[in-house]
């Protein structure tokens, strides 16, 4: 999907919970906060964390200059299962 959108000339960035999977599937740009799958954009109702993850992810659009990079983000959410 990301690749399809990128192919028509629209830059994309993906928030990944599973960076190895994302690398394997050929994502052009991604960030990786330390989150479980299902909360890629951060802990439920943690507005501050979600805001930070989304903002820092978008910032990478202006920073990244070559495909295939996955930028770790300094946010951590450990779900209590």
């Amino acid at each position: 999907m990301q690749r399809a959108i990128e192919s028509v000339g629209i830059p994309t960035i993906l928030i990944a919970a599973l960076p190895p999977v994302v690398r394997q599937s050929g994502s052009p740009r991604a960030t990786a906060p330390r989150v479980p799958m299902g909360a890629n954009a951060g802990e439920p109702h943690n507005v501050e964390m979600q805001h930070g993850i989304v903002k820092d992810t978008l910032k990478q659009l202006e920073i990244l200059d070559s495909p295939g990079k996955i930028v770790p983000l300094p946010y951590e959410y450990i779900a209590k299962v």
Binding site: M1, V8, P11, T12, L14, I15, Q24, G38, A39
Partner: protein, 150 residues
């Protein structure tokens, strides 16, 4: 030490191939960009048709001004408990609207997209669903797309 070399030697273990890179350059500043959301998390309007959990390559359109409480998830491939508490965990539409209010981005794309990722008919996603969504985003002059998947 010299090593023996064998031409054409291959691993017996299946090694997946990473596809060729794709890259659309960023030409605008964030404050001048209309940002869309595309998520593989199975997000859709509560009033819309649910995804078939056994496999579904269709997608749902979500207007930019949809209230978070009017959205839900149908996806059989991950633990939905966080996203059921707060849709923004996978579909950060409230966060994006705040960033637009701050002036950090220009605004949201008029339409956001939800589909059910995590495998299924990859060929249909690659050949049909992906290009269809991409075409619609292009037609609405979206400058960049933020995604959640994987």
């Amino acid at each position: 030490m010299s090593l023996k070399k064998y031409d054409g030697l291959q691993s017996e273990i299946y090694v997946p191939i990473t596809p060729q890179p794709v890259w659309a350059p960023v030409t605008k500043k964030l404050k001048d960009m209309k940002i869309g959301i595309a998520t593989a998390a199975g997000v859709h309007l509560k009033s819309d048709k649910r995804f078939n959990l056994a496999g579904d390559t269709t997608y749902r359109e979500i207007p930019w001004d949809t209230k978070a409480e009017d959205l839900m998830v149908s996806h059989g491939g991950y633990d939905n408990s966080d996203v059921n508490k707060d849709i923004n965990c996978m579909f950060p539409i409230d966060r994006l609207r705040e960033l637009a209010d701050e002036g950090f981005i220009k605004g949201l794309a008029p339409t956001e997209y939800g589909f059910m990722g995590g495998g299924g008919d990859i060929e249909a996603f690659t050949d049909k669903t992906g290009p269809e969504i991409a075409k619609k985003l292009k037609a609405e002059d979206v400058d960049a797309v933020i995604m959640t998947a994987g």
